[in-house]
Symmetry: C2
Subunit: 244 residues, 2 copies
Amino acid sequence: MPDHPHIETARQRLLAKLASLAPLTDEDRQGLLSLPLTFDSWSAGQDIVCQGEAPNVCAIVVEGFVCRFKLSSDGAREILAWHLPGDTPDFQSLYLKRLDHGLGAVSDAVVAFVQHKHIGPLLERSSAIRTAFFKDVLQEAAVYREWLVNIGHRPALQRMAHMFCEIATRFDHAGFEGSPRYPLPLLQADLADALGLSGVHVNRVLQELRRMALVAVRGRTLEVLDRPGLEELGGFDPDYLRLV
Amino acid sequence: MPDHPHIETARQRLLAKLASLAPLTDEDRQGLLSLPLTFDSWSAGQDIVCQGEAPNVCAIVVEGFVCRFKLSSDGAREILAWHLPGDTPDFQSLYLKRLDHGLGAVSDAVVAFVQHKHIGPLLERSSAIRTAFFKDVLQEAAVYREWLVNIGHRPALQRMAHMFCEIATRFDHAGFEGSPRYPLPLLQADLADALGLSGVHVNRVLQELRRMALVAVRGRTLEVLDRPGLEELGGFDPDYLRLV
DNA sequence: CGATACGTTGACGGAAATCAACCCCGGTGG
DNA sequence: CCACCGGGGTTGATTTCCGTCAACGTATCG
């Protein structure tokens, strides 16, 4: 089979992610670059990995918006995290017997997979890669903590402001610096599931944020009109995104 | 200085926790048992570790109820997790530059500490201990995910039912099997901070649960009168507590 | 052109926050 | 011994936020 068009992107993204978490040796890089990858494309709304499965691969988001979600007993979907291109949402699956959550494509998305059996040896050999994996998982836990504060304590307007700040900041870190316009290829219903609000209320809060001249969400983009104002409103402190 | 009265308890708890996560060799056990521990006692309401600190120790809960919390910008306290005796809430601090959260004594508590510098060499030598640490962190992340569902999606009555189920189940796993009465040495205000509710509302919901003959919370104990009913109401599925 | 999916708007109701008393009980000190 | 105090729990009245329901608008697509 011919190489997937995204294969170079995927390798570079994996390398960049891990290198940002721990200093890699040349041998580490070599090992990572030679990992066999498979690819899949998903259209918006599809499940990439299902809740309850016994995982045997790790995912790397190459293109598009991916979410981690959990289905509650009454069938509702709670979105637990966003995963942007370059994220590796799945290192934890190495040690999970079965998944308590799923990964879903929020927009059309391209995802690469590495089999667990190829990662194990790498981890045994390299303490830097072990450290990077550990930190990646810790970083995600820090985001969960902040979301708990956000959903547990803040009213809808501030809650949404905070979420937009997080998305903007994460894109900034990923190289979108300078631009106040970010991709936001998701439905109001997705936002609702992530914020613990109803779809109708998301709509109204979105209008209020617009009326306050803080953001403009239209089409598939988020335009931040007043970043300081938005951060102030959301009580946003970006520290939790740069913890490790 | 003479040995602390709890030193044996603390060592055994640490060993038991790690052994439950990965098979330890004799050498692993030896190394863990010879870790230098220090101890501190805290009275209810005190902060054990403060948000913003650069950590250099890991904590082991020996006696009492400990919580992980985060202070939001408006000064409110969101409780993110409970830590019962035997929990090791702090392995993650090994890799965090600074803490995004604090640890607080909810009841009077005894906590043991291990210095990071003593843990590093152990981790380098033993892959089982590395695995156990990793799994401990993953397990905690799974609890965050469930709390996000709980706070994001469930109304107050079900939310509190779910939390009581979690506490009961975790005590069961820790050896309280058979007893429907569990220690619950916390204030209604603590419950409120953990559930994202007001103190007043916690009080009313507590009465409703009692009226429904599901639980009786009095003094410092939680008596579960109807465990199946409580789990049904809370939509509780204990899987997330036994994921690794 | 209708069908469908998504967004928008208004009316209404209910869950939970807030505010403010008040109670209960254990501790403390005169 | 009793008075006082303070922390925590309880209760009621009121308000606010947000969910639900239902209708309608609008864009895209086959």
